[in-house]
Symmetry: D3
Subunit: 288 residues, 6 copies
């Protein structure tokens, strides 16, 4: 995939590893294994840049997001760094009155949220592979993906109440819309208790559980490959319409769908797919 | 039920079979078994007329929707017919500019959506019985019903991405509101993979699974009979309030409920039901 | 906990028993066991007063709600009393025209709903323990709690259609937002069929099932104690943000979260929690 | 315009007069001058059919709605007929309990509202010309149009409180979104006082006032002709996007606009209009 | 109106004067003229109690709200008292961390807002008469009324930015929904400049301007009397439906209207009003 | 203001002129007078960068936006450039199928909209000064500002239908929320007729009209200076709360306000302002 590396997605990546295991499939790995893939501020800014680029890269049709190393998807926010950054370190914001500090914090949180939301807004489907320690930010991040799979050894935790805060970069907003069991969501968010792969599977946080991380990544690649074989007009429209519908009434969802498809249905992909179906062969679709 | 047939619901039905297996219960069968119950445009227009009529027919209190023949609930849209109709066939819309084609498509999709929505808007509860092949439009249609049951041999598929389009007559809007497992919804919509009755049961797409279609229809009749024995004011109000609440905040849902019930609670059904309860006998309710 | 009893939460309670089994934990028991804990109007007014007080009592961090006696969480509305109250008894509203009666009913229902909503609006997490007969109002009430657990002998029923009305103090609005399986919600609301603890567990109505009521209450106390050990700023913020997000789009949820946390994150609890974490000891948080 | 009369919009019209004063312009007149253009039920059903047809008639680009005769745009609902129809006449609904009557009324009002909404949903811009008596339904109807002009002798009145009801086919919902002066809306709706053309102009209910009805109709034709000269893709898109935006947040409005225009901007009309602009001549656009 | 004073609305009123100038009309006067009618906390609690009672008092059909004395409708919040109350005085909240202070403030503001909202939620129409100094809270309060009139000498000011805060008991939320000129709203809220009666009239903040306070009160009584002569079912329904529609889409507004009126239209007031209209006499309506 | 130029807002600006006429006031001028300030793509990207920086620059408290040169605020989009960019020039997008072209267009419009929205999202108040030709994009841009003033010679036009498109970067979404006269909005958007300063003033599009551009800019500076003297915590909170309330119900608006102010009210600005008020001197507020 050398063509990829000289294209728009090739600028240097410091904390992430970006590979292309198959045609049309990008694999983004959080690459700070020595720190259990814990996040510092420049990482989430980089994450946003990567997903903004993949979103419009015509060579990409499905994306896998996972963590490097054997021990953790991510242990969450790098607490030491976060303490300095969020609370203004030794001096900083501490000197302002609480209202001015609030302004700084609001801007900081909004920017952090926007970086996470870049994964949700990415026009291509994103499959998140979780393993080992998956705490705090791990849940904020994973719930921005379209679907989640994990390895047996995964340990999940909505950790934030344990450091005295309500989770604020997405978990409390997205988890209740991802998982149908609202009482369970309340429980794990209010107690910060650790739960495993089996429980995550039972409540619908993950779609399937694999023996180990390698198996899970392999399965994600197969799943991504399946999506990548479909019409990109259809796949990207499907993602968009599902996300819109989550946030709107059925009536608004149907109307938006009709408006969206009035252009999308004119794609060359429709006759291409129909014809291939009749002829029982795999269709090839133009890039998008 | 001869009285039914000369009433407002008795006009000729070409592609559907309408029977009344018990008092107050209507059974609508998609009746194009030789084509696997695949839909052509005049079918969905007919479906709408049928449900619009049943909605206000005082002799009907619960409705069963199923597919005729042993092989399919419905194989979805009749692809050949759809290709002609949606894309204007050999001539038609193809000659216009894309914006004019978009106007035609938008009108077409809106009309199709409205026909499907007639099942959801029907004031009486609708139980959908699925069996065999249940692809594409099968899911759009089934999710407009109030609840779904199926036979063991059911094969489900959100098929649309396989013909190059994002599903646009309801699945992408309603499925995430019917099934709590959002990641699973994303997976089956983005991959168009086939899944069976057991998986449908596990994620909550269906309420129960039966050995065969006959058993499922029989169970549906029992369920419908149970609903039909209740006060129709209470049953129809319950359906309406659940649907409204799905699309609104809790605060708006509570208010709407209060306004609705300020009239409904004045029904003769309340003292009738209370009295029957005290006297441990089955109450009889006026038609609605 | 004598201090409690002379404080704002100590005024006489007629139909409820209020105890403090552990530091920071309040236990509210519906205390009308001889009538299966059935509700009369003055009970829901009292319930509101109790939760309004606990909501702002700094000595309380988590609340348990259960029913006294061995037989029922609550059998629901006291039907005889309700018939008199809702329908104006022998004289009353019955003389007015239907529109005037509707005004009276709307006010009555709104006041009843507000009392139930006091549990949801209570700033502290509420764990509902259900056992035995849990009919009608039992579901309206339980779904205002943050999470629900139950004993094996629980029997649940959305009873209202059996007395000729659509449930109107919360079940139809909240149950579909608590349980992800929408078809199941429709079924139990439209048929009023009784279901047990196992089914409630499977669909996500309860978080766990215990052998008997005593075990369930004990488990609730442990769960409450776990929450009470956390930062109250974090716990109460988490509850609020989850409830807000349920009723809003993801975008609005994220924004509201940022605004909320811009003050909350300035709590002394954050450094306290971080430090205790590093030193591996249990932190102590100021009251709230 | 003989071609029109044999087209889809040519079926017989009993209570309305439909003419085509200029190319692309339809003029719908309420044609019951001897009864001050008061509405009976079959009239609003006919109104709906007419606007549904004009909405998709490619020969129509702008529509004028006015009342025949010198004395009234419309005096509103034909009270005698309405009393019979709404309240079930001599027998009918009066025998049912209030809840059953409520079901009938709800269906009746919904059907009436839908007929009025047909004017708002009509894809072509509608200019309403008001004159003389314009009471009750006159306001419900006029506020479904895109803009309103009137003659000096117009007398307006939100009449409904004077017959004991809250206006229910649109005024209370649309008037506050048409006129920015909310206190004035409250005043005229709560007092049913009559107001004149000058006041209507001052608060923004009408766009302009003309000496007499003839001058107003002439002005409406000029205005319609101006709209009809523009690209129909642009004009109809503009109407749709303004209506959508009224009911949604700015963020949702912008997104919907982008999706809508992604097809619309591909119209041949854009280069046609640009080129005509550069060459300073009037462009001709394909029908829509 | 002695009957009034021994009824539910007769409990002692410390800071307000409640009179009944005509049948069915209540007049609430802010009665702290020596302090320019500035508000202290116990005043807004009392205001809420008064409007909660008037809301359900069948002897009241319209309400006038004005300020006692010649100099001010109200000068707003009593700054000294507010400073003590809002900021916890010398000790109090100041000792907590900013997050705990925020909790106290949030509860305080919510309670204050609820008191103001009691005027909006009052089921009877409220006419606010403003005169002289009408600063800060004056605007928060006046915009909860249904309509506003004033005397020539009125001086208005959205004063809050001048004391370092964004107005938080209603002005910023309601003023843009009362006045159509959004840029003007921004200007007066961001600059705190004083404006007079003529400007208030021009932008639609008030419905009319009178020579002096006496004339304005007299006009308000006439206006209230006009409303009080109408069917109370119709008037109160009209208020409710206008308020609901302001906060919802047209589609939701129409639906809610239909549900509301399905009971309201069954009032005896409809035939009473129709008959009186035909016989050209003033109808008499049952109390509500 | 040399400090400004070396700060974060000092990077080179190609198409805009940025000056600081007074302390805390920034003046952004569209600086392409030879082309009537028409916009090309890199201009709106630059505009976004400028407002993103000013939004968080503590030295800025109010912003003026105007156009350089005597002839135009802006003539709108540079048509030639736009034709190339939007439609892909001679080759480009034209080769794709309509659905692929739609994807490109959607991305393009979304990016353009985001740039415009940067003015609305800017935390500081923005005063737009319009003069001369103010067509098309001029209205999209001006309605993102908080308030608008203009010179007598201004000529406004919602020009888009004249080039065959529905306005899509903000006018159709924001104009109806800025101006209360909805029929007027429809008229000018559907006819693209030119209107002058007086009419803009009458309908509320501008707050005031000045003799010439110089007088208008001077007035804007005075207005900005007035805002800049107030507490920046109060002013910026006021802008945010007004914008939020525009897009939400009153109930949601009040709640958000309470949460926002729970931090903001803790500003040192409150005692500072109160004290200065009592001592009748001008307060000085810390930067924000």
């Amino acid at each position: 995939m050398t063509g990829q590396d000289s294209g728009p997605t090739s600028n240097s990546r410091k904390h992430f590893k970006l590979t292309f295991p198959r045609e049309y499939i990008a694999h983004v790995e959080i690459n700070r294994a020595d720190k259990l893939n814990a996040f510092i501020e420049e990482m989430w800014l980089e994450l946003r840049r990567i997903f903004d680029q993949l979103s419009v890269d015509p060579n990409v049709r499905a994306i896998i997001l996972s963590g490097a190393g054997p021990r953790a998807f991510t242990a969450g926010l790098d607490v030491k760094a976060a303490a300095n950054s969020a609370l203004g370190g030794s001096g900083g914001a501490g000197k302002s009155d609480p209202a001015r500090t609030a302004v700084q914090l609001r801007r900081h949180v909004a920017s952090f949220q926007d970086c996470m939301s870049a994964v949700e807004k990415c026009e291509k489907p994103v499959i998140c592979v979780m393993h080992g320690i998956s705490y705090g930010l791990a849940i904020d991040l994973a719930t921005t993906a379209d679907l989640r799979i994990c390895s047996k050894d995964s340990q999940f935790c909505v950790k934030e109440v344990d450091i005295g805060i309500a989770a604020d970069v997405g978990t409390l907003t997205r988890l209740p819309k991802v998982v149908g069991h609202y009482g369970w969501v309340k429980e794990v968010c209010l107690t910060a208790r650790i739960f495993g792969a089996e429980e995550a599977m039972r409540v619908g946080l993950v779609n399937s559980v694999y023996e180990g991380k390698e198996e899970a990544v392999k399965a994600a690649i197969e799943l991504a490959a399946l999506m990548a074989k479909k019409s990109p007009v259809a796949v990207q429209g499907t993602k968009e319409l599902l996300n819109w519908s989550r946030d709107h009434s059925v009536q608004d969802g149907l109307r938006y769908t009709g408006v969206w498809n009035s252009a999308a249905i004119q794609a060359a992909d429709v006759p291409t797919a129909l014809l291939a179906g009749l002829e029982k062969r795999t269709p090839t679709f133009e890039k998008l």
